[in-house]
Symmetry: C2
Subunit: 355 residues, 2 copies
């Protein structure tokens, strides 16, 4: 792995995104120019150590712009009637870039939450949002709670079947620890970002590529036995939902909510080719606690929970207990300091605009 | 097991609840008399086959009324300021009966959702809600999506520690399939009701009592090995979160959200004695899709997902793939027809008012 300065990565991605046909016009309702924001979100994902969904994912993004799955110039529009009293809206992503559509949807949910206390956006016809955690950080660093999830193509067997029937539908739950104008320090949020399978598809493929065994069983082999061999799971396509029947059930209801509330497509309607996985349905929820609760008290509650968590005796003294997102901050700082790790071949292609 | 007519079970529970000091005055904001509703929710839980949280749980409920943990006469009150524009509120349960408080909170969230499209209630100082699925059925049978969760005492190790640090914080997600005034048939909702541990405490204890092995590993034995022996897990108190680190993370953020938004207590503040597990924090969310979407289209999307699910080839031809809540309907009909299964000793005590 090569380490490159973060700003170089963002700049190279910006050139590549412009080359794909995105433009730097503000994508409503977000006020950031589209190509700049799209590149920044890819770069930040790699910076934060979520290597499977940053630069490493960019070739697939580029291929999907080129094959027409992603419309680089589309921006989302509201499909539910405008209403002053309503705290939830439906939007259509028009197959625009998934990270831009998701950013816009969470922005809108946050605006609704600032007005109503809680706000939500159901988004149809969008594309893969890359790192889902992005939209949790987006809300929680502004002092709002953020929840969002997406459906995906069928990559997980229904419980009791061996055939991929449900998606692995990642869900993100982000909890703010600091609130604007309260206190003198800004504490990083707690951000849970998890797929309904024990390992995301990207993570499974990363383990397989480096020939490593999974730390816990991640699916079944072709003979129907639970296995820690990522290649055997890729061969059988029988991934394991978290908690067996529970993760299956959770995945099903998340698909139902996202597609019903957005009146969009459901998992079973997507082609099984990842390069044609478009018109996804997603759901974004934000809560602004400063509209109905005491933010100083909320911070105290959060710190008391995290202090108690950190006090839990670790099984391995070298590995203290951590909250979701804690490792992200450490990796972010390390990567900003030492340079962001990139695959040398991919980095060359990115700079040559041949990605 | 003895089978008794459902109406007899509900009537006997009603007498027992009155004997504990509950009264039949309407508990705001629900309009049903409190003692009648409390008894009905216990009886319906057993009727629906969730045997661990119905009549079997009543002795603990009675003990907690007697030891002062539950105030049989308390009803919830709003703690956030009343505001016309706000779709989320904070309520205080004043240590009233947990199922009544939860029913009231979901009722209020549903009222807010009918007004704003989406509505939520964060509830502090409440008690164990018994079957969490109850409040999902409550929303979804009225055509609303319902999500709710509760925190619990620490019964699950933090990931990387062997000591119980987080709760198993059940979450419920309920999806309606029919909407008032739309279509001629009423279809039962999809209701997911799951604890963050692979097996709920009640379920673990039920397996242990009948000397049965768990179908999949449910925790660790005292030597730190994954095991399917429920008694070994009760001995070590090292339950397994669903998806290992994922269920731990989900449990943590659910506790943070429930206690922060309600400004109530967190898992680490509860005594480890289940008979003194009071002042819980809970969160209730409802969405009324008829305010912003086409309910006929929503029903079509739901049926298309469930048809596709039922079409998945089962691994065992005798066990077709089912959605969460599907088995509930079958058990409910069976128990209404044959009588509700009750433990004979418990049934005798209930009728003698010596429970």
């Amino acid at each position: 792995m090569l380490r490159v300065p973060y700003t170089d990565l963002e700049a190279a991605l910006h050139r590549a995104v412009l080359n794909l046909g995105l433009v730097d016009q503000p994508s409503p309702p977000a006020s950031v120019p589209a190509a700049t924001l799209c590149a920044r979100l890819f770069a930040e994902t790699t910076r934060d150590g979520v290597y499977t969904h940053g630069l490493a994912r960019f070739p697939r993004f580029a291929a999907m712009v080129r094959n027409g799955s992603i419309d680089p110039l589309a921006s989302p529009s509201r499909t539910s009637m405008l209403s002053d009293f309503r705290a939830i809206e439906r939007w259509d992503g028009h197959r625009g870039p998934g990270n831009l559509n998701a950013w816009s949807a969470m922005s809108r949910a946050m605006d609704l939450a600032r007005l109503h206390g809680i706000g939500a956006v159901a988004l149809a016809n969008t594309n893969h949002w890359m790192r889902g955690g992005t939209y949790g950080w987006q809300a929680a660093t502004q002092g709002l709670f953020g929840i969002c999830w997406t459906n995906t193509l069928a990559n997980t067997p229904a419980w009791g079947s061996t055939q991929p029937t449900v998606g692995n539908n990642p869900i993100i739950i982000a909890v703010p620890r600091s609130f604007p104008g309260v206190g003198s320090t800004t504490l990083p949020p707690v951000v849970l970002d998890m797929a309904m399978t024990q390992f995301s598809m990207g993570s499974l493929s990363a383990y397989a590529q480096r020939g490593a065994e999974l730390p816990v069983p991640g699916g079944y082999d072709l003979d129907g036995n639970l296995t820690r061999d990522p290649a055997a799971i890729e061969a059988s396509q029988r991934t394991l939902p978290i908690g067996y029947w529970k993760g299956f059930g959770l995945s099903l209801v998340l698909d139902m909510m996202a597609s019903m509330l957005s009146e969009g497509l459901s998992t079973h309607q997507f082609p099984l080719d990842p390069l044609k996985e478009t018109c996804l349905s997603q759901f974004f929820l934000a809560i602004d606690p400063t509209t109905f609760a005491d933010p100083t008290h909320l911070s105290q509650i959060a710190e008391s929970i995290l202090t108690n968590l950190h006090d839990a005796p670790p099984e391995d003294p070298a590995k203290p207990v951590r909250y979701p997102g804690e490792e992200t901050i450490r990796l972010r700082e390390e990567n900003l300091h030492l340079g962001v790790p990139v695959d040398p071949t991919l980095w060359q292609k990115l700079n040559d605009l041949t990605i």
